[in-house]
Symmetry: none
Subunit: 201 residues, 4 copies
DNA sequence: TATGAATGAGTGTTCATTCAT
DNA sequence: AATGAATGAACACTCATTCAT
């Protein structure tokens, strides 16, 4: 479909040149269509851009959803999500750029689309994770930590990892990175003895 | 000095309007100087902006340095750094905007100033942390994890937390947030039994 | 007929938005036809517009013609024409707009349609009025003035009145306005004594 | 001064191409200045245009004012005004175009600048003419006609004459045209006998 | 040194017109 | 015949940067 092709190319070109430096013509030319044709599908450059971001976020949600869906074990579920998240952005570096562009240009919007359409803002998505975590805690597999805290720290860690990968030019393969993250996220950095000490304090 | 005043106002105005939407005139006007005067101190708008970012990163480094300097205990040192980092960005939200603007507009630069001038790229800074961590590991206070991994995960977590605070409009006080982060970073989310299981696998 | 409906709507929409601000789509939409359909009847937007103006001028001519046709007395004939003219534009304010739009946009055309198709340019129409006036003069009912002068001044006066009504937002009822005009046009503003003086000079 | 030069050229170019077909560049080029320079003096194309019209109307007012100022005799005063008006527009045909353009493009403005800034809307200007006419009537030089009617009919006649001259491509010298108008306006077209009849009816 | 003034280059958006169906 | 879709050509306005004073 026209619409999808345009969004594909828009994602690519916006990521390459940045929102402000992208003349809509740059998107039209490689598609061999007129600039005005793009304006038939998207009323403004801004809406075209935001549509591209939204589509990216949807794709992210679906990808993680698929990776996690059939997994019942709560820890395996987290593992799967972390891997899927990192893999997704390794495969879609353009989207990282789009996130940045969005925040840079549309400072007035209350929330980034990533947060607005992401799992963070969807009650059912959050509930699923929360109950999964609560189950794991009650089964004695996780420490008694408020599930919200686990979710927030994990989200922040992944978000930060994604951006750092991109901005610092880090290119560790996602599998290894996932393992590093899981190692620390799950077991912490304290030794057993230090941990015992902390528990008692 | 003129130069500092300009950078102050530039930071403020760039953060408010974004790089592209900031007319250099907007910086000159409240300082009651001519636009061309700014060009006497900074040859281009780009360099003015980058100077503002660099100054911000320096300030960050100094702030964290000061917080950490006199602390010898490695774990207390990390705690101090985490708190100082979060407190710094709570006090300097403008800088978060500047980081975003930088990545959005100067996509061609290999590394963000944050990473280029931050501790991540300074060997002595990194060495200090590395030896601190190695010491803690050898004293049995931390698990045997490559110190680079600890440093990377901690950096990413803080970086992600800072951005999320800003973009998702989160406003938890930094002390509480620091405690949450330390809790998980230090002790992990696994229960004792799960942890034991993991160690053996 | 299609053609007439289109001209009706075109007159209305051109008058409302002006020629340049009228998207041909605005005419098609309320008629519930495609924009391209209009182009089947009128080859260009310009020709559509000019056709609408021409139709308006024809209507004006017919209206005045009907008002004047059966009147034989030359002075009553003028009276009838003046009334009919003012009444016509009170009923068709859209047309005044169209006249303006025409002159504004098609500056290169030698003459406005109003003058090209109006009585001023039609020899038989002019001859009719001329002979009517000549008759009145020879019967001693009008002063010995070149009939062309009477026609020109009357035309200009009516033309100016129509525009002023429209542009200055004047809304005197046309009957009253017609009487005012006739009073001065027929009898002049001089008193009898001043008139006598003038005659002798 | 820059401002005046720009208005001069703007008047000329707007009159030649029409408001909509005038690229601001067309005004800048012959002045050998940059387009942006014009925007330093006039914030929008619209305001530039309206400023040109206003200046034209001011010039008209001054010109007529000067022609009429020292004339005390009321009838000579009218004669002078009529001549000055027609002469002015013979010398400034551009302004006629501007009036048309204004009405064509700025349909939403309540009144044309001509009427807003012209004598019609200035109480002192109107009062001066009114008292001049009242004086002439009381001295028995003009018929007992409400001075407003005289003023309205005269204005309309001149306004219509100006437009007709322009739109119909008429090029009678203004002196002759002024005489024709005065002849009819002052003495009417009725013969003495017809006039007497009318008075009695 | 400080700056007001000048401007070239750039871009989002519109719309009359065409054309394939 | 009727039309939805496509588009090239236009144009107002902005702003980083320069330069004469």
């Amino acid at each position: 479909m026209r619409c999808e092709e345009i969004l594909d190319k828009a994602t690519e070109v916006f990521a390459e040149h940045g929102y402000r430096n992208t003349d809509v013509q740059y998107i039209a030319d490689p598609l061999v269509i007129g600039k005005a044709t793009i304006y038939r599908y998207f009323p403004t450059k801004e809406q075209l851009f935001l549509a591209a971001v939204e589509r990216g976020v949807s794709l992210l949600n679906e990808t993680i959803g698929r990776a996690v869906d059939r997994v019942n074990d709560p820890i395996a579920k987290m593992t799967a999500a972390i891997r899927a998240y990192l893999e997704f952005f390794e495969n879609h570096p353009d989207l990282v750029e789009l996130f940045i562009q969005e925040r840079a240009e549309f400072r007035d919007r209350p929330k980034a689309i990533y947060f607005e359409h992401g799992c963070d803002s969807k009650e059912d998505c959050k509930n699923e994770w929360r109950s999964s975590l609560v189950g794991a805690i009650s089964k004695g597999r996780l420490r008694k930590i408020p599930p919200e805290r686990i979710m927030a720290v994990t989200s922040d860690l992944l978000y930060g990892t994604m951006f750092t990968n991109h901005f610092a030019g880090r290119d560790k393969p996602f599998e290894e990175q996932a393992r590093d993250i899981q190692d620390i996220l799950f077991r912490g950095i304290f030794s057993d003895s230090e941990r015992r000490k902390a528990k008692n304090s």
